[in-house]
């Protein structure tokens, strides 16, 4: 996935890989959790909420200034950097949370209107709500009785 920055000198290969992985991911809907590589950070959940698609990403420790979101009609990309430093004058005794520079893309199964996306960050969970494109929104069809 576009997780490693080393992939950036060959963007199309990374993109193909990304699509393959996303395809596999959507094939695995029955599973409890989609297969993601160990150490993948941050992790997300994509919801279909009828008129909207909702992406939740767990980014503990990041403020809204430290997260960038960009998107096109069928991909949202969340990027940023988590710097980890010991508090002033402290030494590190144990380290399980690693500093990470990340760039993760999440593909939508349908077209969406990224222009009107809204994002919020609360308790370390980033929630991005994107309206679906008008042509793919669910609509009710009246049944005429003749």
């Amino acid at each position: 996935m576009l997780y490693g920055w080393l992939d950036f000198d060959r963007p199309w290969e990374a993109m193909d890989d990304f699509r393959r992985r996303m395809d596999r991911l959507f094939d695995d809907l029955d599973r409890e959790t989609a297969p993601v590589r160990e150490g993948t950070w941050p992790r997300g959940v994509l919801y279909d909420a009828g008129e909207h698609l909702v992406l939740q990403v767990a980014v503990p420790g990041l403020t809204k200034e430290e997260v960038q979101i960009s998107g096109s009609q069928d991909v949202l990309t969340v990027s940023g950097e988590r710097k980890m430093a010991a508090p002033e004058g402290h030494t590190t005794q144990r380290r399980e949370r690693l500093p990470v520079r990340f760039c993760r893309s999440f593909a939508f199964p349908v077209k969406a209107d990224v222009e009107h996306a809204e994002a919020g960050l609360k308790d370390g969970i980033l929630t991005i709500t994107v309206p679906k494109a008008p042509e793919v929104r669910p609509r009710s069809i009246a049944v005429q009785v003749s």
Binding site: T33, T40, G61
Partner: protein, 130 residues
């Protein structure tokens, strides 16, 4: 200056399923200076009023419950993580001042400050001219 006291337990590293809810061990960093230990844990999705810290017999136990509201009427298209409760406990050295432990939660990170007892803090000793 570190006394190499192992605060964490090795047998608590795997997620488990307790009372039907998924429980995970949050990743933790521990920092130290002359006055205190600072413990930081990633607990994304947990609101402040859903964190319980208990200190008993020199053991600090942390429980934090997932508190992100469900999105009404939504179905999951792809999932890389599940809502989890976090649980972990730490064995504190005898030398800490248990009365003064304090904690705060910000952006999904829990910070616990554990002051060291007076007895073990380094102090400079005045040398009087004789």
């Amino acid at each position: 200056m570190s006394n190499k006291h192992e605060m964490t337990r090795q047998d608590e590293r795997l997620p488990s399923n307790l009372r039907g809810r998924l429980v995970a061990t949050p990743p933790v960093d521990i920092y130290e200076n002359d006055e205190e230990y600072v413990l930081e844990a990633d607990v994304p999705g947990v609101a402040q009023d859903r964190v319980t810290l208990r200190l008993e017999n020199g053991e600090l136990s942390l429980e934090a419950q997932w508190s992100v509201p469900e999105i009404e009427g939504a179905t999951v298209l792809a999932r890389e993580f599940r809502p989890v409760d976090f649980r972990r406990s730490f064995v504190l050295p005898d030398t800490v001042d248990a009365e003064k432990v304090s904690a705060s939660l910000k952006d999904g990170v829990l910070t616990v400050r554990i002051p060291k007892g007076e007895a073990v803090r380094p102090r400079s000793i005045q040398i009087r001219a004789g």
